[in-house]
């Protein structure tokens, strides 16, 4: 035994490990950012849900197992260690669901969560607008009260998964003339509703991982408002904390990548190249630190603590770690690093394509979920107490 929380392998961890070993597809699924890949990932989510493994931390009545935070961490570690498919529903699972648990009505929970758990409904996020990125409070897309609900108009952009998703959630200005954080309402809407146009956007890696959403008097029933109209900013900030902190970036992701990096070093590294060796070690230490820190945070939360501005520490840390880790892998691969092959390709024996894909994805980390510059300002002002 060592000072390693991962060695506390319980029955639940063993069940997850066994199930994943038996079910994770041998050949990686096609990219989630293609129509074919999206469908394949949705099918995978249904398989997970059938084993009650898609939302283990949720209450049983919504498809979960009431798993503790520590069991959830164990699940995530096993999931990434097994190289299981990307969670196509992650925007809904890790952003919308926590918001609903905190602010939703029982009717909303009953209606929205079960199909989300089965991936019958896959959710996209709709935060940013063309003129509201880091400065989210500058958003202009509007919600106008009408009979039985609201009419949405405006443009949302950089909406992850929106190219193929079913529904979306975001903030809308519901009080004309209200400034900044005031008069905003948190709404869920159907991406197939009349008045919605989705324009997929090709990303750095060439695939359509996000999209622009044009809304032209799209009707949304009152039942799809989360919390009170006008209270959207406060509610959204509770989601933002989830996105930055524990939920979206579980440590298993980095521990698994670091383990693969060490394997790559053993296979392809030059033992005399201590500069590269040290970068591999630092990536491993970084992943270990993030994992230990998350376990400590989980223990603190389980004991009744709360998570606030300190989630910004984690967001900067994991996003920088992810970039460094993948850059190190590509440097290890040398001239093979630029190969954009599919995993398993015979001409790509080092699986360079997989590292490249991960690298391109890692580059988005310091930008999304609040840029790292915004996070550093949050740390300085709210945790260190420096003046605004």
């Amino acid at each position: 035994m060592s000072g390693d929380p991962g060695e506390q392998a319980g029955q639940f961890r063993a069940e997850v490990r066994d199930w994943l070993r038996a079910h994770v597809p041998a050949a990686p699924l096609p990219s989630v950012d293609t129509a074919e890949g999206f469908a394949a990932h949705r099918a995978w989510e249904r398989e997970l849900a059938a084993a009650r493994l898609s939302v283990v931390s949720w209450p049983v009545r919504y498809g979960g197992r009431d798993a503790s935070l520590l069991d959830w961490l164990a699940f995530e570690e096993e999931y990434y260690a097994a190289a299981a498919p990307v969670r196509v529903g992650q925007n809904g699972l890790f952003l919308l669901a926590p918001t609903l648990f905190a602010h939703g009505t029982p009717e909303q929970l009953d209606r929205v969560l079960p199909p989300m758990a089965r991936a019958d409904e896959v959710w996209a996020q709709a935060w940013s607008e063309p003129d509201a990125g880091s400065d989210l409070a500058a958003l202009r897309a509007s919600a106008t009260a009408t009979d039985g609900g609201w009419l949405l108009s405006g443009t949302k952009t950089w909406s992850s998964r929106a190219a193929f998703a079913d529904k979306a959630f975001g903030l809308f200005r519901s009080e004309p003339g209200a400034q900044r954080h005031h008069g905003l309402t948190y709404l869920m809407f159907d991406l197939r509703a009349d008045g919605v146009t989705v324009r997929p956007i090709r990303q750095l890696g060439g695939r359509t991982g996000f999209a622009e959403i044009f809304l032209d008097d799209v009707f949304v029933p009152s039942a799809d408002v989360i919390g009170e109209p006008g209270d959207g900013w406060r509610i959204a900030m509770s989601t933002a904390s989830h996105e930055r902190g524990m939920s979206l970036r579980s440590p298993g992701r980095f521990s698994a990548a670091a383990a693969r990096l060490v394997e790559l070093w053993q296979r392809a590294g030059d033992p005399a190249d201590t500069a590269l060796r040290d970068r591999v070690v630092d990536a491993w230490i970084g992943a270990q630190a993030y994992r230990l820190h998350t376990h400590a945070t989980a223990a603190r939360l389980a004991a009744g603590g709360t998570l606030g501005a300190e989630s910004s520490l984690g967001k900067v840390y994991w996003s920088e770690l992810d970039v460094a880790l993948h850059e190190t892998a590509l440097d290890l691969l040398g001239p093979l690093a630029e190969l954009d092959g599919q995993p398993g390709d015979d001409r790509d024996p080092g699986l360079a394509g997989r590292w490249l894909e991960g690298y391109l994805f890692s580059l988005a980390g310091p930008i999304y979920a609040g840029t790292n510059e915004i996070q550093r300002s949050v740390i300085a002002e709210r945790l260190l107490g420096l003046p605004r």
């Binding site: 060490v262 040290d278 820190h293 376990h295 223990a299 300085a380 260190l384 003046p387």
Partner: protein, 365 residues
Amino acid sequence: MTLARSAEQAQFAGSLHDMLGAADGPAAARAWAAGDRVPGLAAWRALATLGVTALAVPEHAGGLGASFTDVVVACEEIGQHALPGPVAESVAAVPVLLAALSGAAQPGGVAPGEAPPGEGMPARWLSGLASGELIATMAAPPWLPFAADADAAGLVLLAGGNTVRLATPGARHRSVDRTRSLFETTGGQAVAGGPVAADAVARALDAGALASSAQLLGAGRALLEASVRHARQRAQFGRPIGSFQAVKHHLADVAIGLEFAGPLLYAAAVTLDDGGRHAARDVSAAKVASTDAARRAARVALQVHGAIGYTEEHDLHLWLAKVRALAGAWGGQAEHRARVMAAITTPERGPEPTRPEAAGEPAWN
């Protein structure tokens, strides 16, 4: 298992914090550097009163037989207050070394070694360490080429690969940290030898590396606090310099580094408590991360303070120098990174990862 301070440890840290604050660590450090050990030794006696010097000493030898996590808590506070003296040596490494040699249980309940107590000396030294009457230091080339503060220590040991000897201090060297006097040593009477000694030395080096990591983390926290205080007070262009984004972001990066080094220290302490499997990996990871975090804190602290930080008039230099000194002591970054790599590329069920090798001495017989 805990990866953070328990309520009791938080209380312990609070008591230490108050005591060290009252003892005025920086003033004691300045006096120590000038050759006046009176305030520093008074602070060491106060540490003994709070049980710090007894933490790593087994209960039957008059100590507390405490967890390594308690040692980490104490050494963080000591580092934060810039207390002078052979801290990692006397509070952690030497007690662990002597406990292993005297066949005593390690902190955390590890099975005793098989060494015969060398004429009962280790046990007597242990009780002296626990009570605070004895301050000890050691050299263990190559990680620890000199015995720090040997002139202030009542016991000086020289640890080689397979031997532990009493040592006579020789030539004295100045350190960048003016509170540290570094002594060359000549080995004298043997205290122990053979595989038991080799194992004890390896344990001692891990304990010392962990304790010095905790001092580094504490020093890093002190540097961050001083920088935040300065940035809030110092005004330029009509505003506190802490309101400028360039300054904020530097300090945020310091806070991030310190925050994520902490859990590695506690994990390494738990590893040592539980018998040391993965000791090389976890202790070295903690040393690497706390050194990097403390060095970033030092570099940013100096930059934020500007010219006043580049003086001996300001206390900042006490921590800047200590960070530089401890970054290389107890194994440098290269050695520790190599040790982590060796450990993580060794098959799970294979041989134990290599322990730090001390060189230069023939086998004792």
